[in-house]
Symmetry: C2
Subunit: 97 residues, 2 copies
Amino acid sequence: MSIQHTVVFRLAHPAASAEERDFLMTGHSALTSIPGVAEFTIRRQVSGKSDLTHQFSMVFADQNAYDAYNVHPAHTAFVAERWIPEVVEFQEYDFVE
Amino acid sequence: MSIQHTVVFRLAHPAASAEERDFLMTGHSALTSIPGVAEFTIRRQVSGKSDLTHQFSMVFADQNAYDAYNVHPAHTAFVAERWIPEVVEFQEYDFVE
């Protein structure tokens, strides 16, 4: 059963800044390099009912692919080097049919 | 520009109960009856990092369609009669490209 893994987040950087752009581009390239990551998207969160501003979303074919992603060095490096220092607030959600 | 409107929520009802099933079926039928609601889905939220358990998602072609949905009697009646009494916790997010 496929799993849509999502995280909604807010960066420390100003909207439309070079730092924001670099974070999003690096996230895209790091995470899409990982086997099993499909349908990767970056979108803006625009509801005034949340102060989070972006979403990363990806689809895994099954739990094994998700588990492999979680421990993949490209994922753990991105989390340590970029996510933790630059993301102020976030919430993960995973969706299944 | 199309807008994906989502709400992640948790019901007062036990998982897999008749009350849960009735809420989801009524939500589906009420909300999909509203003009402009496309790609309506109901999914389960399974990440242990959130205690919300379901998601409603729909796509509007533009802000006008979204605004019309918000004030449509089938929407406001569902919110008043079912959502408020039966939903314990929720968070809305809207996504755009």
